[in-house]
Each structure stands twice: as structure tokens, then as C-alpha cells.
Symmetry: D2
Subunit: 250 residues, 4 copies
């Protein structure tokens, strides 16, 4: 099998520059384009890429992906800012390119994606479920988007399984130690110097606990997810949202 | 839906007495028989049980299950000692009772079963995988059977995915600190006063870690697994081995 | 050295009955009295005890300890309800019995006492410190008294060392995920079925973390602390509050 | 108070270049010399340093420190290779410079130093103690020197307290899952891609556990220890070995 020809758009950003290195270092890939913010996207056509990796900014991603889809180039997108409206527009555009695939992934950490899926599978079997997330001290919002999303999926899985509310006798909590209740799932956010991005999902029943923990120490954590997506996208078509749909989890 | 009529065989043992309590306490079940080691198994017929729970000893379980299958009673078995030969005999016997189901489960801890399955799903996506198990200080063997089984399933999942050997530069380990290599997966056994049965499965790749931990603090940890099996077995037929096949993990 | 003669007051309660068993099982002690709530405390004199262990209720403890001190009996007290006023009264009473010692310990878990002391020692050396406590789901208040006390001691140690406020850029936390700020130390309370009493103290600086975790799985966790106190009290006099003062931590 | 004038020797190595940055960034210090391997050490005199930080190689450190001591310069040493013989020579040399102090610290991680000291203090109070260390996959030796040293200090503390052997009923361990027994303390070494240097010290007694964990994610973890040493050494004289002696742990 010949190497997959890859073009990175947004190659000078933090994620983009890591992606360039990772693609150059990995077997089975050849980097044929690395576009910065001032390079015209048409260069991607000259480079004859099989797969584009779009890692730019919310203001640029929609136009970039439209161009790539119109030229039949499979595209892995890590940029945020894809509203429901934008996704609808992209689906319409893809309908005219039935061979072309786009993956939009808000989180390329395979560990985080696996943990979220495992949490959903485990949720029906335990009385209690809570989430602890730990991040660096420069983070502006609490709790993290990943923790909120995990809580929502746990809540839905519990509801689908017909589980009652979690047991909790707390009747005095003057300072809010029980944290944020997201769809009934308590989420706790720690901000700790020296840490990066970490999530711990705790399940409990009589006599038993199950804990799922993911640690993302650096940007390099996202590279295996990007490489897996680039490797897999040739077998797909249409739009997928979430790296999970490209992993083998059944 | 009327309550499921349950009979416990081996009701005076540690697991059996817990099971009796759990069935009596749970909604949707009625305990109609609780046989000790001196009670004749024929009593189970008078009790008109829908499902039998067999929690005896290796020397008694095969004859008990044979009797129950011959009388068309679905049976959940927690007793060990089911060799490949015994399982073959049981399959033959079940062929004559196509409506009847048997579940043989060496481990009723839902957390442990889930963790093992999650480990298998995660294994292809990480460079490194090791297992730590912690047990009470009265345990005679190391590592635990669950840890060995988990290591084997991780090793098989890695092989199926075509992964290379794990990276490991160790060239000096005079005292054996790297633990037991089970099919290439290192397993470490801690024996700690005050602990019961605990397993931690550690996965790692560049910049990232995923950790799955199960804690079994007491025998009550096994009751949700037994109740799930009793609730589910009416929809099944034939022989299943492992609680996993009764959980919804796809 | 002859065995220490011990009398337990409140021997029928949960802590008391465990203490009776622990004293009977341990070398170096002989149980000479075990008083229930209807037994007159004067029986303790007939039993010629060296050390009394008072594990009753807030309404009874003050009178019991007064009686014991007046009769020159060293006393280890695990009962709560000792207000500043009661402590002052006890100090006055002890002044007339210079040979007699009383230890009032709100928490006999050696692990918890050690962790709290270690937290205080570590606090000056880290930029960040937060506390996670996990308890069973029947607990009425959040956060736990131990967690509050730990936070206060960390805060004081930071202040004494002249540390600035912890770094924390959070400017959006609509659901209170950051938990309870106790003297500036964030405390997070998880309520999880199957757990008992657990505390995790997390410290962080650039590139580094230190985590102290204590798990109290059952009432038996308090027995080593009680035995240590009974063994040590003969060498003491006057009033001490907190098991810590009887441990060798310098 | 005027700034402390600091010279770094070995300023181009991994530790040294981090130290240069850390000293330049911290309040209270001014970097007046940064010597690479080809720079003559005499430059340190021109720079009028108050404190030298020696981070070179085992072959150079002894001569460098001798020169610095002879010129009455307080020196913080992070280089390894200081045998008992070399230390004796240094003590003799320091006897002629009673105002001068040298600190030789094999590990500048404050977290690791604290954990080791806490382990020693906790050891007498628990029945069981084991150590887990996790390192990157390029590490050549197992277990780590820090883990061995921690095990030895735990063993000594247990012996000093008169504790019996730890309870352990293991009679079958065909693959060596129980790890390395260092002075009777079991040490387990995990090698995991994506990790750096981590140690978990586990203590257990009936119903109770205490766990001390240190994570060193990067070289920056050592900078607070170096800065603490530079800040403190002016108040000292003579030779100290181990950062612990410069921390306030009583």
C-alpha cells in the first residue's frame, strides 16, 4: 500500500506544528503540504493530497472545508466553531460529493474519547456516578467542556436504563462543596499548578467502585487520534462528528 | 410483570447467604427456596422456581446443574471448577432442553467485568499496558486470576491489531521489580492489609494515559451482577460463560 | 511489663464494641471492664483499670470523664461534643490531678491524622492545594469536618510561610464546579454508594504534584489509633486534644 | 535584602539550562554567571557570586566543588557521582572553610523528598507497606533509585519501631508478580509510554489505607527545590546531603 499523502492546513499553530511533526515521523504517511495562515489554500491541490488535516481557527475553518469538499478531498477537522447551522451546510455540500468524507473532532485524545464511551456503557450498572476534572490554572471556565459532555452522556444512559436518582442524603452544604450538578451528575473542577488536562469518572454501588481516569499531559496526546483519523478516513464517506465514530468500540 | 421466583442453592455459604438477602431485598424477585448443603435438591421443584442460583462447591455444582437443566430450570452458576470437559457435557445436556439457559460466571463483579471488556477495547490504541492488582494479605496465589485473564485479553487485542511489542529499555532488574510478564503484559501484585480485591489497568502513549480501576470492597459487590443475571436469563437459552455476555456492552 | 488493664465505657455502641474486641485481641492489654449505658460508672473502680476508654454520647461524656479524672484514671475519649467551655472545665479539674492524663481525639484514624499533619508540612512548598473528600451517600453534611479542618491547617501553613493566593484564572463557573472555598482552599465533596470515608489532598507546582490519600473502609480503622493512645497515655499527664499529639511525628 | 548573586556551572545541560531560566525568572535572585563545559571555572570569581549551582557531570563535579569551597563560595550540587570517599574529602576541605556550606542533593523534587520523609514517619503505624514506581520507557534500570531508597527508609523505620514482618500468605507466584523485595519492602516498577517519573507509596492496616503519590512531569519540577536551596544555603555551613535537610519538616 502506498503512503497516504497528507496536507496540514494551519501548520504554524500549536496543534498544527505538532501534527506536521507527527505525520513526518509516522510510517505510512507522507506530508506533501503544510500551509500557514498566509498561504492560499489552492496549494493543497498542487500537492495532490489524499487527506487534509484542518487545524486553523473558527473564522477560517468553514471556508477551508467547503473548498476541500468541493475538490473531493477527505478532511479531518480539529478546529472548533462548528455550529449546528454550519454542520447542516456541510452535509448539503457533501451530498454532491458522495465519495468524500469529513470528520469533525472536538477532541483528538483517544483516551478521553474511550473514557467517555466507557462511561456511557458503565452508567446503567451503578447507583452513583460523579466526575472530577483537573486542569491547569490558566483555564478560564469551569467545569471543562469534556466533563460537561461526559456528565450529559452518563445522565442520558441512566435515564435510558430507567435508573432512579442517585442516592444522596446531603442536607447541609453551605459552601457548595458538592460541585456542579449537570443533568443530575455532580462535576467537580480542580485547578492545580503543574497539571494539564485530566478527568476522573467515578462509579459506585454497594461494595464496589469503578474509576475511569484519563490524563492528557501535552499536545502530543492528540497525535495518535489525528493519525488514526487520517488512516481511516479513506474508507468513509459523508460527515462524522466525534473521533469515536472512527474507533472500533463495538 | 409478576415477580421472578428464585431458588438459591448453597444458601448457607458466604456468597449464598448474601444472595438470599439481596434477592429478598430487591424489587421484582421472590425467594421461594434457599437450600443448604444437607437439603435435597428436589425441594427446588416444589418451590416452583423460575431461576436457580447455584453457589455451592466444585464437587457439587456439576450434578446440581445437571438436575436443574433436566427439569428445565434456568440457572445462574457462581461456583468454580467448570473445566472444559464439564462445559462440554453441559452443552450436550442443554441441547435436549432448547428453552433452558445456564450462565456460568466466575466473577459477578460488574465493575471487574466491565473493566476487562474496556481494557480489551482500549488496548489497540496505546503503546503501553500494565496491570496492578492489590489484594488482602491472606491470598495464597499471585497474580490474581482476574489479572492474568485481563493481561491475556489485552495481549490478544494488541496482537489482533498488529501492535509491536511494548517499548521497554530495561536492561537491569536484579530483584524482579518489573513483575510477571503474562503474554508480554506486565502484572504487579500488591498484598496489603485492609484491602480486599482491586485492579488497576494502566495504558499509556505519548502525552497520554488511560487508567481503569475496579475496587471490590466486600461480597455485596457481587449482588448486582447476580440480580442482573437472574433478571436477564429468562430471555436467553443455551450456555453462556462470563457475566459479560449478559451485559449490554455494544 | 505487665498488661495494661483497660475499661471500655460505652461498650455496646459501634465504636465501643469494636474497641472491646480490639483490646481483647491485642497483646499487652487486658480488658477488665466493659460498661454499657445502664451500668454505673463506679464499676470501673472495682475493675482496677489503668486506662479508661470513653466512647459514649455527648450528653454523658463530660460527667464520665470528670468522675474518672477525680479518681486518677487516665482516659482516652472518642466521644464528640467537647466545646471550648467543657475543655476549660476539664483542664481545671486536671490541675488537681497532676499525675492524670486525658486524650480527647475526634478522629482515631492514624492515616487521617498523619495525612493532615503531612499536608501542613507540605503546604508551604506548593503553589496549589485542593482537597477531595468521598463519603457514603447517607452522610448529611458536606464537606466533611476532617476536610474542613485539613483545609484550615493548609491555609494557615501557607499564610505562615508568606505564600500568595493560589493561581486560578477561573472567570466563569455558572454551576459551582469549583466547590467550597474554605479559607481559600477549595474542597470538593463526592457522595458515592459503596464508599465509606476517604480524603485526597492534592498539591501542585510547575511540573510536579504531591497527593496524600487516606481511605477508611470500616470502623476497625480506628482501633490502631485507640490502642496507640491506650499504650501511650501512661507516660503523659494533663489534657491533649487530637491523636496527633500522641504520635511520633517530629 | 539585596538579591542573591547566583552562578550556574553546567548551564548548557538540561538541568542547567532550566536552572538558568528559573533563576532569571524568580524574585530575589540575579544570575551573574552561566558557565558551559568549555568555560574556565575562574570566571565564577569575576562574577562575584554568592551561591554557585553545580549541575555538570560526575567526572567534573569534584574538582569544581573543591575550587568553589577553597574560594569560600556556598555551593548547591545536583550532579551525581558523590561516593562516600569523595564526601569524606569534601568534609575535610570544608573544615578549613568554616563559613562555607555545600548541599549535595541527588533529587531536587520537593515532592519526592517530602514523600520519602512522610513515608518514614508513617511506616511505624501500618502493617503493610509497598511501593509502586512508574517511569518512561527509556529508563534502563528497575527499580528506580528513589524507590529503593524509600524502601530502605521504610524498612529501617519499621525495624526501629519493632514491627514484625509484613503479613503475606503468598505461597505461589510462578512469574514473580510480587516484584522486588528491598529489605522486605516490595517494590513494583511500571514502564509506561508518556509517563515521566512517578512514585506511589502504599500503607495499609485493618480497615485503612494511606497512599503518598508524587508525580514529576518535567525538569521544571526540580526548580523550586534548587531555588529553595539557593535561598537557604547562606544560613548554613558545612556539608549537607539531601534536600530534606534544607526543608522545614519538624
Amino acid at each position: 500500500m502506498s503512503d497516504i499523502r497528507v496536507g496540514v492546513i494551519g501548520a504554524q499553530g500549536r496543534m498544527g506544528s505538532h501534527a506536521v511533526e507527527a505525520i513526518e515521523a509516522a510510517d505510512g504517511f507522507v506530508l506533501t503540504a503544510a500551509l500557514g495562515s498566509s498561504d492560499p489554500i489552492e496549494q493543497i491541490l498542487d500537492a495532490k493530497v489524499d487527506v487534509a488535516v484542518e487545524l486553523t481557527v473558527p473564522g477560517a475553518t468553514e471556508a477551508n472545508v467547503a473548498f476541500l469538499v468541493d475538490h473531493g478531498i477527505d478532511t479531518v477537522v480539529g478546529t472548533t466553531g462548528w455550529t449546528a447551522e454550519r454542520l447542516d451546510g456541510l452535509r448539503t455540500r457533501l451530498a454532491d460529493q458522495p465519495q468524500t468524507a469529513v470528520l469533525i473532532a472536538p477532541n483528538f485524545s483517544i483516551g478521553a474519547v474511550l473514557a467517555m464511551r466507557f462511561a456511557e456503557l458503565a452508567a446503567p450498572y451503578f447507583d452513583s456516578a460523579e466526575i472530577l476534572e483537573i486542569h491547569h490554572t490558566r483555564k478560564l471556565d469551569a467545569p471543562s467542556g469534556t466533563a460537561v459532555h461526559t456528565a450529559q452522556r452518563i445522565a442520558r444512559a441512566r435515564a435510558d436504563a430507567g435508573l432512579p436518582d442517585m442516592p444522596d442524603a446531603t442536607d447541609s452544604d453551605p459552601h457548595g462543596a458538592r460541585g456542579a450538578a449537570i443533568d443530575g451528575v455532580h462535576v467537580h473542577a480542580v485547578r492545580q499548578q503543574g497539571m494539564n488536562a485530566h478527568e476522573e469518572i467515578m462509579f459506585g454501588s454497594d461494595g464496589e467502585a469503578l474509576t475511569l481516569r484519563t490524563d492528557t499531559f501535552s499536545t502530543s496526546a492528540f497525535m495518535p487520534g489525528i493519525l488514526t483519523a487520517v488512516r481511516t478516513i479513506g474508507e468513509r464517506s459523508g460527515l462524522d462528528v466525534g473521533l469515536e465514530s472512527y474507533l472500533d468500540l463495538a
